[in-house]
Symmetry: C2
Subunit: 179 residues, 2 copies
Amino acid sequence: MTPRATNADSSAAKLVELRDAVRDADVKAVRDIVTSSGFFAPHEIDVAGELVVERLARGAASGYHFIFADADSQPIGYACYGPIGCTVGSFDLYWIAVQAEIRGQGVGRRLLQEVERRVALVGGRRVYIETSSRPLYEPTRHFYERCGYHAEAHLEDFYSLGDAKVVFVKPLDAARLHR
Amino acid sequence: MTPRATNADSSAAKLVELRDAVRDADVKAVRDIVTSSGFFAPHEIDVAGELVVERLARGAASGYHFIFADADSQPIGYACYGPIGCTVGSFDLYWIAVQAEIRGQGVGRRLLQEVERRVALVGGRRVYIETSSRPLYEPTRHFYERCGYHAEAHLEDFYSLGDAKVVFVKPLDAARLHR
């Protein structure tokens, strides 16, 4: 069985419930999920939590939309995305993270597919994901590729010397995703 | 004489005074400059003005830094730039615009050089500029290339179908720019 099939069949991915309503408790939940993932620095964890605060304060006008994956009503993963200003139909996936213990069971893939479905529903054409070229993020980059994204740009030394920004994109096939 | 030499020698570029302090009157001045340039849509003109408002309200903490080119104490061009979050030493040039009547006289080049000088002074390594692939922006792209920028990325259909985002970058030679 390929990892892809394993993911698609995993019980964790099937059992989680997806929701888009954001609650006060999600500020802490997001910080916990992002921290547990081990991929983010302290200031990035702060940013992740602040986006939830911003969303709670300003609603959809914040430009930040969330999908939470709940198991037993507790968030174990989430994605945050939004429209890119001054574009027609381009969206950014700002964050996607799954609790470390649940990783590899298809929850991230389900979150990403839900983001794409919702972006397509509002007429979105493309989803962009920016990530680092560092070896730490190799599993992340492979995950995006398995989900149908391709690296369209590579900005040398963007994050810091030797740490490039890789821009992934997936053009959405609206007809397929609307189903 | 090449256009480059013409620009460098122009009296307009020499006579303008550069300043970084932002005044209330600059909100209108920026909107007028951006409007006169003919390169921006109404919602983009709003964004340009809002960044000045944001800077006036929050100061340097806004993340928006301005250089104005004044002739007879009136702004005839400006640049807006700032550090890119979660990077070490990468900066974005958000806006650069010069009143239509003054274009081609080296004011834009002087503004851009001043941005680079200030970015290098605070340890910045790279300046990024994002622009559109549309024919309207061909003079803009050539201007960036003449100023030492190169197109590092090309994101198809980013702004809209057929309208790509081109990302220009200039690695700063700190030793040279500090002089």
